[in-house]
């Protein structure tokens, strides 16, 4: 059961392959993921990364400026000169740091659609996590009580959720591929059309599953999957 769920999970390795970028919790390629500013642990990682970047820039700029300054006639080891040198070097370092962050912001703007799709991927993986927890709880309940009509009913629902997650998985992969196609090859219209049709079909499947299972325990998971499917379609429509 768990291996089927693991198959549905979209791993970081898969994301790297599909998007052609290095995807992590904080970055997508060189761009910063917008979700960083809504999740405290990710924000902390980002801040640490920024401090490290600033440190590296200072480590490079300060001694490099020193080598240049030493060759300037009249530059001595006096306190006034040293303070002035430090002020200029730190100023240059901060300037480079600001330019670097501007570049990151520019990259993030260019990858807005991908950022939204990655958020959907996170939600999809969260649903799988929730389902795994639900499975474990069901296993515990079944071990303590006899199998009855209720548990048989939940098994049917589980199949429905798995179907929905399968469709979401396909939609997300198609969405990510479409985004990559459009990002890298703007003229590949035929491929884009195929991928978009695939997303539409999966969305229809999700909607029918949602109608069938709306009233039971798995209803909210199906609803989440449907939301992801609709979000993928919305993003791709914007790209069209």
């Amino acid at each position: 059961m768990h291996s089927r769920l693991d198959d549905l999970r979209i791993t970081t390795h898969e994301l790297d392959t599909i998007t052609g970028l290095d995807i992590s919790d904080v970055f997508m390629g060189r761009a910063v993921r917008p979700s960083v500013f809504r999740t405290p642990p990710r924000l902390l990682s980002f801040v640490v990364s920024e401090i490290m970047t600033l440190g590296l820039i200072v480590i490079f700029c300060l001694p490099a400026s020193l080598v240049i300054a030493k060759s300037i006639p009249g530059f001595t080891d006096s306190a006034a000169n040293t303070i002035q040198f430090l002020q200029i070097s730190v100023g240059i370092s901060l300037g480079i740091f600001a330019v670097w962050n501007g570049y990151l912001w520019f990259c993030s703007n260019a990858l807005k659609t991908l950022a939204h799709l990655l958020e959907d991927v996170d939600k999809h993986n969260e649903i799988i996590d929730a389902l795994q927890v639900l499975d474990e709880l069901t296993a515990v309940r079944n071990s303590t009580t006899q199998l009855d009509a209720e548990s048989t009913f939940s098994l049917d629902d589980r199949i429905g959720v798995l179907q929905a997650l399968g469709a979401t998985h396909e939609s997300l992969v198609s969405g990510l591929m479409t985004e990559r196609v459009l990002r890298k090859h703007q003229r590949s219209l035929a491929r884009r059309h195929d991928l978009f049709t695939n997303i539409e079909t999966n969305l229809a499947t999700l909607q029918s599953l949602q109608l069938n299972h709306a009233a039971n325990d798995y209803g909210h998971l199906l609803n989440d999957a449907l939301q992801i499917g609709m979000s993928v379609r919305r993003e791709i429509e914007q790209l069209k």
């Binding site: 290095d22 490290m52 480590i59 490079f60 300060l62 001694p63 080598v67 030493k70 040198f85």
Partner: protein, 275 residues
């Protein structure tokens, strides 16, 4: 913490790491992680050697030591890159940068591993000359090991794709074979026996040419390594003081006088009692 995991992967499974660089896998993440972890190790070692003088010197050396290796890398990178692509290298600038960072990281880890020993001598022996020479020896040793591993790594990467090489059971002098392509008639006259040029398999000629290029690149690499050592030592001399002479106040920099090699030789001479 992930940055150190990248460093550990490099130390534990170097061939795989180099293969990933060759295939351009996660180059940017590798660069940043290696930069962060190696700079931290250098900074720690720099702080230790600087603390032999004063806390200001410790801070100064903690910044200067990582910069010494980083700036040397940046200065020498274009030479390596452009000379190598001139002789058919397929790697990009980013890949060369990470390759050089692997050297820097190896040296930083080795220096870090020497830190307790340096600290022990710093506490137990109050002799500036000895401490200076001990560190020169440590820097030389770690530098040699790092550069040696880089040399092997470059050969591993350059050798990749030469799978046709073992198929050649008979030795063919590569320079001669290449020349045969350019002047077949003249060469054929000088060759008394063996097959005609038409019989020479195209693959063999291609491999021989590749071997020639490879040999040239290895020669260039050796030349570049000498250049790297020269730039590194001169930059170290320009950025001094790293230790801070006893009895002197803190100096951010010193005037350029003499050179690295003459000073090391003079210190060794004095330590051996010849002065």
């Amino acid at each position: 913490m992930n940055h150190f995991a990248v460093m550990l992967t490099l130390l534990r499974d170097r061939p795989t790491f180099l293969d990933e660089i060759r295939r351009n896998i996660k180059i940017e993440r590798k660069s940043f992680s290696l930069l962060v972890s190696s700079c931290l190790f250098f900074a720690i070692y720099g702080a230790i050697i600087g603390s032999s003088s004063s806390w200001l010197q410790a801070i100064s050396s903690a910044i200067k030591l990582p910069a010494l290796y980083l700036i040397t890398l940046v200065i020498c990178l274009p030479t390596l890159f452009f000379f190598d692509i001139l002789f058919s290298s397929k790697l990009g600038l980013g890949q060369y940068f990470v390759l050089l960072l692997t050297t820097m990281s190896t040296i930083s880890v080795l220096l870090f591993s020497f830190a307790p020993i340096t600290l022990f001598f710093l506490i137990s022996i109050h002799d500036y000359g000895f401490f200076l020479l001990l560190n020169v020896a440590i820097f030389a040793l770690t530098g040699f090991v790092g550069v040696r591993l880089f040399y092997n790594g470059m050969q591993q990467i350059s050798n990749h794709g030469q799978s046709l090489k073992p198929a050649l059971s008979e030795p063919i002098p590569s320079a001669e074979t290449t020349a045969m392509l350019d002047a077949p008639t003249e060469r054929a006259a000088k060759r008394p026996i063996m097959a005609t040029d038409a019989d020479l398999p195209v693959e063999r000629v291609a491999v021989a040419k590749k071997d020639d290029l490879y040999a040239t690149r290895v020669r260039l690499l050796k030349f570049w390594l000498v250049l790297y050592a020269l730039v590194g030592s001169q930059l170290g001399w320009t950025l001094r003081p790293f230790f801070g002479a006893p009895g002197e106040t803190f100096q951010l920099f010193r005037a350029i006088e003499g050179n690295f090699y003459s000073t090391v030789f003079r210190t060794l001479w004095t330590l051996l009692g010849f002065n």
